[in-house]
Subunit: 178 residues, 2 copies
């Protein structure tokens, strides 16, 4: 971690930057949506901008409603994604494993977390925060543009899925006018 | 339009590039989500990469299901946004006026259009396609990164809204397990 960088997980074991995991990342790359278009050299450059942590099973690594300006990439292990309903009762809305990214929305807009992520096994994950992303774009614009494009494609794909689900849900709820 | 560039609207009046509208764009800039962070000089550079068209009221400028790799920015006039329900009946899902952008999802992924856009008045709009965006990023990386960031923020904001609506809709539909 460069001097002055924030430590987003002071209570967890800090494993250093993600360069050590480049080979592992490359192995599971076919499952990593975000890195489909990256070659090994680009991955290694990118990995140097991420910090890695290990968390025991049961750790809440992201908490719904908390502020946050970073995303995570799962390297080893699994998480479940929970969100409170309008009465405050948490419901599982998904799960994620190696290669999946979490928290991109808050990385981009700095708004409170949409959902909570809880480790369902021991977890190794890499963190990319806004300050590092900004540095990366300034230092390595070619890789920076690629990451922005990948994030765009990821959010875009998710927006299409969620929009379609919303249309179908609204259609089932609303009385038809015929 | 540079030689070899596709004409996305061969049946409409082609008005040339968007540089002529920079002052108008600057005037309505407080309503233009996509350009909040652009100064006039950056806008002028960006505008040179967009082509403008005029369409009479009633024109379907984007058709649900069609292929497409461009987005539009409305400069003058209004559109309504329609999407077919599962039985094929079109329903109005929104409307948009000056400064709003349409079709970003297909610009990014080239997948079929999610909804149709029909001019509800005479319309002047600017077009940005993937080839031009790629050129812009290569020629003017600083402005290119800014546009990608703005697109990210736009899609991100929309994803938060739609995800929240979906959660609320599902909650109302599903029987509560208590």
């Amino acid at each position: 971690m460069a001097q002055g960088d924030p430590d987003h997980f002071p209570k967890l074991e800090h494993l250093g930057d993600a360069v050590q995991y480049v080979e592992l990342i490359h192995e599971i790359i076919q499952h990593i949506d975000l890195f489909d278009d990256f070659d090994e050299d680009e991955l290694a450059h990118f990995a140097a901008y991420m910090e890695c942590y290990r968390a025991p099973a049961g750790t809440e690594i992201i908490r719904e409603g908390d502020p946050g300006d970073f995303m995570l990439m799962i390297i080893e292990g699994t998480v479940e994604i929970m969100r409170k309903d309008t009465t405050g009762v948490p419901a599982r809305i998904g799960n994620a494993g190696p290669g999946k990214t979490l928290g991109e929305m808050s990385l981009i807009d700095g708004e409170p977390r949409f959902a909570s992520c809880i480790a369902t096994s021991e977890l190794v994950f890499a963190v990319l925060d806004r300050a590092r992303l900004t540095h990366l774009i300034a230092d390595e614009p070619r890789i920076g543009v690629k990451i922005l494009m990948e994030l765009l494609m990821l959010l875009n794909q998710r927006l299409r899925v969620v929009s379609k689900q919303l249309m179908q849900c609204l259609e089932k709820r609303l009385p038809r006018i015929s």
